[in-house]
Symmetry: D2
Subunit: 352 residues, 4 copies
């Protein structure tokens, strides 16, 4: 079944990437940090422009959903915004996390305003289907924030007028924590499913504040692959290959490649080289029942959860990938040169 999910998602991804997605955008959601004053102002500017710029044959714009937290914000100031044109009253709407969970399909396009963290937050909001996400950066472009806000009119105008956009289908992982029931009765299940999260960058499992090193058992499709003795290990998507995995010594992986990166953090053997596993495998990481130490999981840097003795977490390619709108071909190579200074000129040996 997992194999089929992986294959189907991969095939759909490929189709989508080859051809632009044709769609009429009628409902746009804007995600930003509601506490950042500057971002609230820009969100208001963007919302106004979207609401009032004529689209789709009408002399009005599109429906805009902003964060429910802005409804009573003085800085966002709904009243003065609505005062500009009485017809937009019903078009300015407010999203809540529940709506992202229950009816993600009501959003045709999500815009994010901020840094890579805001994109990760958007991924976290949409635990099931994710609408296409277009991410604006205010300052320098990041790995995930590939559109400059300064050009938002041109970028959005092109997409909304042509009714088409190119998307990159980024793999996510479904990570599920299972709790070992030590005192389960004879008919009770030995493991109970607990937390489940979709991650866009990575799952990190580490020793937390414990001075003892993790001894983690890694299984692939129920076969023991190895025992990890390290400060921790990272299971990263290709998207996450430019984040924590890279710091721990992992390779850079183009986001189109269907793979799960396993990168150890400070491993205890000299030979524990980073590895790329195929995405049709179900991975499972267990804390042995008689382990001295426990371990901690973090999902895209969030939601720290302790794995106690006997617990495990599974990692699988998700059936809900993350479609990010593409700004231009080769944008990934641009982002690594620009942001990482990958292979930028430095020292040169000279002969004589």
């Amino acid at each position: 079944r997992l194999m089929q999910t992986a294959t189907t998602v991969r095939e759909v991804s490929r189709q989508l990437q080859r051809h632009p997605v044709r769609m009429t955008v009628r409902n746009i959601m804007i995600v930003t940090k509601a506490r950042d004053n500057e971002l609230v102002h820009l969100t208001r500017e963007l919302a106004e422009w979207l609401l009032t710029t004529p689209r789709n044959g009408s002399d009005l714009g599109v429906n805009v959903y902003v964060d429910q937290k802005l409804r009573n914000s003085k800085r966002f100031n709904v009243q003065t915004l609505l005062a500009k044109d009485s017809r937009i009253e019903g078009m300015l709407r407010f999203w809540t996390p529940d709506m992202c969970w229950e009816s993600p399909e009501q959003f045709d396009l999500v815009l994010t305003l901020g840094g890579d963290g805001t994109v990760l937050y958007t991924s976290w909001l949409f635990q099931r289907i994710v609408p296409p996400v277009l991410s604006f950066s205010l300052g320098s472009l990041g790995f995930l924030t590939n559109f400059e806000f300064a050009q938002y009119k041109e970028s959005l105008g092109r997409i909304m007028n042509n009714n088409e956009m190119r998307v990159n289908i980024r793999m996510r992982f479904t990570c599920t924590v299972f709790r070992y029931q030590k005192h389960a009765g004879p008919n009770a299940p030995e493991y109970i499913e607990a937390e489940q999260w979709e991650v866009l960058n990575e799952l990190v499992i580490d020793r937390g504040p414990s001075p003892y090193v993790s001894n983690l058992e890694l299984y692939g499709d129920d076969n023991l692959i190895t025992v990890v003795q390290a400060d921790g290990c990272i299971f990263s998507t290709p998207t996450g290959s430019t984040a924590y995995s890279l710091s721990a010594g992992g390779a850079l992986v183009h986001p189109d490649i269907p793979a799960i990166l396993l990168t150890p953090i400070c491993p205890h053997t000299l030979s524990f080289r980073p590895m790329l596993l195929n995405d049709s495998m179900l991975l499972r990481v267990a804390v042995p029942r008689h382990s001295r130490a426990t371990a901690y999981c973090a999902f895209d840097g969030k939601g720290r959860v302790e794995l106690r003795q006997g617990d495990h977490v599974t990692i699988a390619a998700s059936q809900y990938p993350f479609p990010s709108v593409v700004s231009k071909p080769m944008e990934w190579f641009d982002s690594i040169s620009r942001t990482l200074r990958w292979n930028n000129r430095g020292a040169q040996q000279k002969g004589w």
Copy 2:
């Protein structure tokens, strides 16, 4: 077109890997080092067993092709072999490299006897379609030699009696050298296609005996990705990730992942981390026209070719992958633990 090749090959691979291949084996080719006395004896033993063990309802075995060089070998001794049963005379045949090129489909199965080098040689023989290849190791198993010769009767018996086998479709690259025509007339082409090779492990481009470092331009789909300043660079398949790429610092990559590994050899910048590129990209490596130094290509460690100023070589996922018969699930993980001692226990930090 390349994108389509990559996609088609990948889809077929996936289908093949999910289900065993059903086929009746009637024609078997044996590849070995014809100069190694011990191997010649074992080849004879294997050939005799294949020729005489009843198969497919007949009271005889299958057709066997051995290396043309063995026709007059005293050690192989065709005469005494044929003398055992007059009916096998027409069934013992001799293969030549030309046959591999012209009619690869006449072989239902190829057996290799020797080390990983013999498997690479088999890949080199079949520059177009490759029949399924089952590789025996004489001593310890290697990355590519995943069957023990000591159990050949059981292994081959199971496949030939059940008429089915599982294969792993390993990606190859098509590497093509293009020569720059410095003094081409106005209507002559600027580049002429020269050598072309399929590689199963890797293409290595290095500075050869030159003391000067290579300055190689790397293009992806005609966009300049970076300029490589290094002793050289390796373009490796996932199969080759356990070979030279690993020595140069590359990650271990499961052979099912469709990716091209770019691993620099002694790069001049601190930030030139190994990278995995998607296999739907056409890569091109060029020696700049005004470069001080030239570069050398080696294809699976063979066929050293000089790239002079202005020349380039292209690397693309091949439409002719290499189907290797699988001995058991998870065999790749076994091979890296056993052969590389990947993450085998060594030092352990102790607290107090």
Copy 3:
């Protein structure tokens, strides 16, 4: 002054290493884990042998100091031990941590029984002068436990009969925490000296449980060398180069080399290569006053201390190195082959 300390210690080390130390051993201290039953039995055996084996022209042995915690231990059983020979009553003595601090010179030789952790504990006991330390291993030899307990009679007999031993003078660091006094009055000092520890392996500074990365300022002799953006950084002695620093990617450094290893943990830049600094430099690591996060120090894996905004810690070559008794020449190379499997044979690329 620091430069002079480094130089003097280094020169004395060299003299000591070239020639065996000549001394009559009259007082021996035994360090072990007092809670480990097996170790207590072996300590008793060793103590009895030392007390009763005739030495130095007398028909009795030498004075033996065991851990004060064993005075009332049923397993150690002082009474039955003393009952064997009334003359040893005054020769069996008990050490306390205070004695190690106040009069370390009263011990001619320290024996440790256990693992590398017991040796680190011995280093921690002796915060000033350290007597020569001879370390027994019960199982396989470690980096610091270079004598096999099974041969203790031969090893100690040779040293005590010849009145000479070879020692390796291992560098330690003096690490001193300074607390920033935010609200210091005009005449009060801005920094107050707080914890100070000698380390034999390493000082680790990391982000602790904080999700935010450390931004640590590194100064050498009051010049800013760099700002460390990483999960943390390790300042390791050559002795510690086989411990945590190695896991984080550091080089192996022979213990005779006077150097301070700086090894980053998961650094945020691709170019932050491990570095070796000269031991005549005073290093200082500061948490900037306006830093978002704090940092944590651990000294040889012990004594976790928080560095808050404005605090700093200094690292300098100590004037109190750690003299470890040498079992044989080249023992360091043996230990890395054996314990780390350094460069032990694994995969081999084969040509064809």
Copy 4:
């Protein structure tokens, strides 16, 4: 003896580095690339200034030695230079490589003009005692070229007026090739000493054009340390730690640290981590007598020599180190930030 050499050189180095060298400079040698037109012009300008600027109480300057190859150079034009002041005729002199070998002490100071290659060439010229070397860079400063030519008057004026300068005593290695005499008679020596070179950066031993990997035996003080299976290995001084060793994965090592860096090139085992050996050890690298392949040595990138079966090369800390004039404290840290972009800001992971 080696131990004593190492110790003596180290102690003298330390004394020299702590205090400035006091000396009156009367004879200056200028080294540059005689074929580079721009450099010849600048050499002439520098020579004229040195010859004619009053020094040491005289109204003339100091004696200047330029490359013998410039004697008849039209660009250098000795005649017009001498025509400026008849008194300088005897003061403009010409150096030859022989003079560097036979009477190095006649030069009080050597100036180099060019890149790091020119400094390596100067090291090569002085195979025995090396005078203090001050290295000018024309463009951006390098690791070894730490003075800007644009400020030559200020830099040299300060040194020559104060009669003092600070020098950094950089370790060199003495590398000696020994040839195995296969057919030596009973009384003939088995090994004959052949090439001997001083290196400032590194000795590289590699497989050269051979497709077979090197199997090199590494001995320390006649004990086998390990067998190197790799494309090659680098024995680098701390000065060379920023050159080829760094490309192959070595650590950065401050030039004051007395150590020999062993850095493997593309090693065949996952556990062959770079190592620092103490400089009091005599290292020896041998090609086994029955090795399939030979190996090649390069000394500071020059003088390629083949090591055949049975031959070996020794590496030892030289008694002739390389004194380089210091431009300012902490210059090494500046050079690695500037030239390597060591730990310069790049990507940053962001939380949310």
